[in-house]
């Protein structure tokens, strides 16, 4: 320490007055104190995740650690089926949300203020209503005595109620209706930031509305599409309640499998392994979507090539 000439010029600790010491401490240490909650939060999360991961390494019998649970998940066609079913359902739900959500978001940004406010109000209400309640509302809509069936019966299209629920289609429809507000908000927030002058310029240069939509609005709204898709995909992939209530027990997604293993069967290691695979899949999907977006973005010129 003495070898450093700069250190010698500073006042030695012993010679500092108390108020000065306090000031130095405050200045040097306060950032560390301020970051403590974040560290605690991240630490807690990492601890929980690592304990989950550790649990997943436990073998079926004994304390030996290994990949037995993962091998089991990969080898068993029924277990693999839970993952492929979840991926398929999440993909279809995301696609459905995009197809339904984009036009709504676009309409919101182009229509009168009052209409936009009404739509926003409606979506916010949906947000604040309980998810379980929304799923039960779907049962009222799609059930045997539901609105849809009554309409079909009244119109004479069917003679007896048709099963709209208790199948994969029912789950996909449920997830679309449950998650579409996320997609709409994600897209509309991006749409609202698009510079209107670009559209005016396009019109001046002779572009029709559909050309402007295709070549300006659509590419510029891609960040919203991607973030909305990520949110909806993850929510759908992880969903437990919708398949449990609308799948009629015939549709098992990963979360249902994890619940069964962890709570009903007390097979924590296998549940933990399945949860870990779900987590990794989710991260992989985010990375994939982001990478795809970057490539696309570079092509249409909204992402800097050097990034």
């Amino acid at each position: 320490m003495a070898a450093n000439p700069r250190e010698e010029k500073t006042v030695p600790w012993g010679a500092m007055t108390v108020p000065r010491l306090r000031r130095v401490f405050a200045a040097r240490l306060s950032p560390y104190f301020l970051v403590l909650p974040a560290v605690a939060l991240i630490g807690l999360l990492l601890a929980a995740l690592s304990s989950l991961f550790l649990e997943s390494l436990r073998g079926p019998d004994g304390p030996t650690l290994g990949l037995a649970q993962y091998r089991l998940l990969a080898a068993d066609p029924t277990y693999r089926g839970y993952f492929t079913t979840s991926l398929r359902i999440a993909f279809l739900a995301t696609l459905g949300c995009l197809i339904l959500g984009y036009p709504v978001a676009y309409y919101m940004e182009t229509t009168r203020r009052t209409v936009r406010h009404a739509i926003v109000m409606f979506l916010v209400l949906l947000f604040f209503s309980d998810y379980v309640m929304r799923v039960y509302a779907l049962i009222l809509l799609m059930g045997n005595n539901g609105l849809a069936n009554r309409a079909l019966l009244w119109l004479g299209i069917v003679r007896s109620p048709v099963r709209l629920m208790y199948s994969e289609t029912g789950v996909v429809v449920g997830l679309i209706l449950g998650n579409v507000p996320f997609m709409i908000f994600a897209i509309s927030s991006v749409l609202s930031r698009i510079d209107r002058r670009l559209l005016q310029a396009a019109a001046l240069l002779g572009a029709t509305r559909s050309t402007a939509l295709r070549r300006i609005v659509l590419p510029l709204s891609m960040p919203g599409v991607v973030s909305g898709s990520i949110i909806v995909f993850l929510l759908s992939m992880n969903s437990y309640l919708t398949p449990a209530l609308l799948g009629g027990g015939f549709v098992q997604m990963i979360a249902n499998f994890v619940y069964d293993q962890a709570i009903s069967l007390w097979n924590m290691p296998l549940a933990a392994a399945a949860a870990a695979v779900l987590l990794v899949t989710a991260f992989a999907m985010i990375a994939l979507l982001n990478a795809g977006f970057e490539r696309l973005g570079r092509r249409v010129g909204i992402v800097d090539g050097r990034r």
């Binding site: 029924t78 039960y136 049962i139 059930g143 045997n144 027990g249 015939f250 069967l265 007390w266």
Partner: protein, 345 residues
């Protein structure tokens, strides 16, 4: 300043000493300090228990009852296991399978029948060394008479092709596998040989509209007209719906699966009081009052069966109790197999 501080410390020490002496004498001497710690279900169940068991018990014995609740029995078992080293729960109100698991974990202790005066009024099968029955309940079929005009009298009727797509059927883990046991009985098997259950379930699939995990889901499916038949309903769950004229409940032939909820004696700190509490809960008075409010059958033969329940209850000979030990050994593999073979399209 120094003197004052010293004074303060001395005063604090004196206060602590007095407090320590106070608690010590309180612990050894006073009757009022006696307690028993009970873990049980929360919600309305706890309200009924407080009203008809806990409060009368406190009044009669002067022993204070400290109540802890579990979300469900398996959650309770996890909590108890976590404090195994220094367990401070004496009585656990639970189901037979978790009670057996608790015995396996070494957190409960055997109950000697002679230590419970009221145990003599219980059927022999309802007093074991791991648990003593608190009350009984049975499962039957609830259906909408509009959807099933022919009615249901036997379990076999569930397989009637006329009921295609009309049934709500429990998942294998619902009610700790009781439905699988029933199917096994109907197919000629039992709790240890369940292949017949899976054959029966395969044949039942065309009639299944939906599987359910929780009893409340089943109630909703039936009440909303989503299904015409609730295939496996506890009679107590039906009573609140009984007002509706279209809904009927039947305890089908040839037998009615019956089971119990139980008390188990844990290795707590107040074993004597724990036994007193269990014995009190098995008494005729507490049994009659609790059964009436909770819509269950009393375990004590001397106690009265609630009137609104009695009209649905089959004769005693028709009850068949589930072999809970065999269920505990088999349940995990049943659920696995059920999810693989039955709950798929």
């Amino acid at each position: 300043m120094g003197r004052q501080k010293g004074h303060g410390v001395r005063r604090l020490l004196a206060a602590a000493a007095i407090a320590a002496i106070g608690t010590a004498s309180f612990d050894t001497g006073a009757h009022a300090a006696e307690k028993v710690v009970v873990m049980t279900w929360g919600g309305t169940w706890l309200d009924y228990m407080k009203k008809h068991v806990i409060e009368p018990f406190e009044k009669e014995t002067g022993i204070e009852v400290e109540v802890l609740t579990h979300q469900n029995t398996m959650d309770g078992l996890a909590k108890l296991k976590a404090q195994k080293a220094d367990l401070d729960v004496d009585v656990w109100a639970t189901s037979p399978v978790p009670a057996l698991l608790a015995a396996e974990e070494g957190i409960s202790q055997p109950i000697q029948k002679e230590t419970l005066a009221n145990a003599q009024y219980l059927p022999d099968a309802l007093v074991t060394s791991e648990w003593v029955a608190w009350y009984r309940f049975f499962f039957g079929v609830a259906y909408d008479a509009d959807a099933v005009p022919e009615g249901i009298t036997e379990w076999q009727d569930l397989w009637d092709p006329a009921l295609a797509g009309k049934l709500a059927v429990p998942s294998a883990d619902n009610a700790q596998g009781k439905f699988v046991v029933l199917l096994s009985w109907l197919g000629g098997g039992d709790e240890t040989r369940v292949d017949p259950a899976f054959e029966m379930a395969q044949k039942l699939k065309p009639n299944v509209a939906t599987f359910f995990k929780s009893d409340t889901d089943q109630d909703k499916y039936l009440q909303s007209g989503e299904v015409g038949v609730a295939s496996f309903m506890m009679v107590g769950n039906f009573l609140p719906m009984a007002e509706s004229e279209n809904l009927k409940f039947v305890a089908p032939k040839p037998y009615v699966p019956a089971t119990v909820d139980v008390f188990t004696l844990l290795k707590g700190k107040n074993t004597e009081n724990g036994l007193k509490f269990i014995d009190f809960a098995l008494g005729k008075q507490a049994q009659t009052a609790f059964a009436a409010e909770a819509a269950v059958l009393p375990a004590n033969r001397e106690a009265a069966v609630p009137a609104d329940l009695a009209k649905y209850a089959p004769p005693e000979s028709q009850y068949r109790y589930v072999d809970e030990k065999a269920v505990m050994d088999g349940l995990q593999s049943w659920v696995e197999r059920w999810n693989r073979e039955i709950q798929t399209r």
